[in-house]
């Protein structure tokens, strides 16, 4: 009896894809934090997804692409329930979005069970793509940003560093990968500091960093906390005592950069995307994005959302509109295209993104602050997974 029920359930799941084929629309379940602490991430990605559909039309491979937006409120079990409902009730062919690591991880078993591709557009912990063979990432991993920063630092005469990261998955990834590369290149990490994710006051850790008198402080805090961090860094006079600030690009998030004020000028950081990236594709993207969103500047989250949609559209085109998970995954693996951030591709082995990482410096251009790219490390794979092989 139970076995029969189970078999029926499994058969129904297998039928989902063909049911979706029968209809003309292909549904994409977009799960994002639209309220709560991470709401700005959700807004950026949602705006980019809408823009992609406005620019490229809402059909691909002859099918209408319908995006269903759900607010996960930043809570993992809510996100999991929403994903499950999207799969069961709305029969979505893709799950996309995922602003936070725990949420992407919580949904992964559903992607596996239902054979639905999970397109991660934001969350940046390396291990996410290992959680399910159906996870594909179009954002970045923290290690991708942190390792080039370590290499650049050693080459540019920085020998003693204090690392300071937010105490959660991506932060620990950033700390580990930076420290490993920095040490193997000959630098010393004097102290590794972590701040709780929800600690608004950085003064105690900054005091510790100042006491250690390093050449530089390497920082990762999630986008949104960067402004406060940089301000307190300057207020504490760390810049004046000759301590450099090096960071992943989350700290100098494009969305926030102008509001941070001139104190951020000169901060060196590494990341996958800058709104100032010099390419025709990016100019068109930035202009259209600003126009559609009352002047809001797209950040690395938005570009992750844009490329996630691109991946979905192109995969559908390659499969001729077929929506079963294995075929879609096969189409996605190895796909390469020109993104607003530069050339990118999906690593066929790890399903993680391969992209250029840029070394940037915050400068003022035409009265606005930008991360201006001055060096490029081409085709960076996720170093954590590369090290495992």
């Amino acid at each position: 009896m139970v076995r029969r029920q189970l078999a029926a359930a499994l058969a129904a799941v297998a039928l989902l894809s063909s049911a979706a084929q029968a209809e003309d629309a292909v549904k994409v379940g977009l799960i994002l934090p639209m309220t709560g602490q991470q709401a700005s991430t959700g807004k950026q990605i949602d705006a980019a997804v809408k823009l992609y559909q406005a620019v490229n039309g809402s059909t691909a491979a002859g099918k209408k692409i319908e995006v269903i937006l759900k607010d996960d409120t930043g809570v993992a079990d809510v996100a999991k329930r929403l994903a499950q409902e999207l799969v069961v009730n709305d029969k979505v062919a893709f799950l996309a979005g995922f602003g936070l690591t725990p949420i992407a991880l919580a949904v992964a078993p559903i992607a596996t069970q239902a054979k639905v591709p999970e397109v991660v557009m934001a969350a940046g912990t390396s291990s996410i793509t290992d959680a399910s063979p159906f996870v594909v990432r179009t954002s970045f991993t923290l290690a991708q940003s942190a390792v080039p920063m370590a290499e650049w630092a050693v080459k540019n005469g920085i020998n003693k560093v204090v690392t300071l990261v937010s105490d959660f998955g991506p932060g620990i990834d950033a700390e580990k990968s930076f420290t490993e590369r920095f040490k193997s290149d000959g630098g010393t990490v004097i102290e590794s500091l972590r701040v709780p994710l929800r600690s608004p006051d950085f003064s105690p850790v900054l005091q510790k960093a100042a006491d250690a008198k390093p050449d530089a402080v390497f920082v990762f805090v999630p986008s949104g906390q960067g402004a406060q961090f940089v301000k307190q860094f300057v207020e504490r006079g760390l810049d004046k005592s000759g301590i450099k600030l090096i960071a992943t690009g989350d700290v100098t998030d494009d969305d926030q950069l102008n509001g941070m004020g001139d104190v951020v000028i000169g901060v060196i950081n590494t990341h996958n995307y800058s709104a100032a990236h010099d390419s025709a594709a990016n100019k068109a993207f930035v202009d259209a994005f600003k126009k559609a969103n009352a002047g809001m500047r797209p950040n690395f989250m938005a570009v992750g959302g844009w490329d996630g949609m691109h991946l979905i559209y192109e995969a559908l085109k390659m499969t001729g509109g077929a929506t079963d998970g294995d075929t879609l995954l096969a189409a996605m693996k190895g796909m390469a295209w020109e993104s607003p951030r530069g050339p990118i591709s999906i690593d066929p082995q790890t399903r993680d993104i391969v992209q250029n990482i840029y070394v940037r410096k915050v400068e003022k251009k035409d009265g606005e602050l930008y991360n201006v790219e001055f060096a490029t490390i081409p085709n960076v794979k996720d170093p954590v997974k590369a090290a495992k092989k």
């Binding site: 959700g42 006051d201 003064s203 949104g224 509001g259």
Partner: protein, 296 residues
């Protein structure tokens, strides 16, 4: 060498203490209105932080869109939040006095949700930043101790406010009426004190102070639509630990919490995040009515 190390440790400690005091002072200005409303009307106003947020956003809008200097924005932030408080008190809150505390919780949480979503809609969900004038930035060396200029500014303003509030409470006619009303509203009413007017004014001033705190604190605490929810717990801690029978209690509690929080994160980073909760539990278990309140 040892002496040198000792001096360095002492100066670090002084800096930490200084930061903690500034943080605590800020908490006091943000929370003192709540202490008085709670003590006066026994009203659990969880929406208090929304008034602080209003002050912060008023400052951001005035500085960014209208180019007003930071100092000019501070009194406007106070006035705007006070006005908002007065209007809401007369229209909505007035219906809630005497209702069960649970209804009050539901009501004020509802207000917080509305405020959060409204600000998100009107101003976006990204954190807002206030650009301090150059003369408030940076830090000075005072007798070997590194002192942030903006934090000194906060200490001066908030300390001044605390002193003024205490004087107003103890020395003015309004203050004595307020104290009488807090002690026993019924008797005060019987003695001809216009308790509801006293309360409306107090509510407005409390909201205004929160607004000023929001404007001053945006630089240090950050400002985004979730501000009222993020800091609700801190305000409640200040009020419960300090007690609700005056402002000396909340003032001391704010300083204690500020110093414990900052010092905890510096000296005991492993314990840092829950230092303040441990302090709170300890105080409340030993003195259930707060540090300074008389048991009722």
């Amino acid at each position: 060498m040892l002496l040198h190390l000792y001096l360095r440790a002492m100066s670090a400690m002084a800096t930490i203490l200084f930061d903690g005091v500034a943080y605590g002072m800020l908490l006091f200005v943000l929370a003192c209105g709540l202490a008085v409303t709670l003590g006066l009307m026994n009203f659990v106003n969880l929406a208090h932080g929304a008034f602080a947020m209003a002050g912060g956003y008023v400052t951001v809008v005035l500085m960014d869109r209208f180019g007003l200097p930071f100092l000019a924005c501070l009194p406007i932030a106070f006035a705007a939040a006070a006005l908002l408080g007065l209007v809401l008190e007369r229209t909505l809150y007035v219906h809630m006095y005497g209702r069960s505390p649970l209804d009050q919780v539901l009501f004020s949480i509802g207000l917080v949700f509305m405020a959060v979503a409204f600000v998100d809609w009107a101003m976006g969900s990204s954190p807002q930043n206030i650009k301090l004038p150059a003369w408030l930035q940076g830090r000075r060396d005072v007798f070997g101790v590194q002192v942030g200029i903006y934090r000194s500014f906060i200490i001066v303003i908030c300390g001044g406010l605390a002193l003024a509030l205490q004087l107003a409470l103890m020395r003015t006619r309004f203050g004595s009426r307020l104290r009488a009303a807090v002690d026993d509203a019924r008797v005060a009413r019987g003695l001809g004190i216009p308790v509801s007017t006293v309360f409306a004014v107090t509510f407005a001033v409390g909201s205004g102070l929160a607004g000023l705190g929001g404007a001053l604190g945006a630089e240090i605490l950050g400002l985004d639509p979730n501000f009222p929810l993020r800091f609700m717990i801190y305000f409640l801690i200040v009020v419960t630990v300090g007690g609700t029978s005056g402002i000396v209690g909340p003032f001391a509690a704010s300083l204690l919490l500020g110093v414990a929080d900052v010092a905890g994160k510096y000296y005991l980073p492993a314990l840092g995040a829950f230092m303040i909760y441990l302090v709170m539990i300890a105080v409340l278990v030993l003195r259930p009515h707060g540090l300074f309140a008389r048991p009722r």
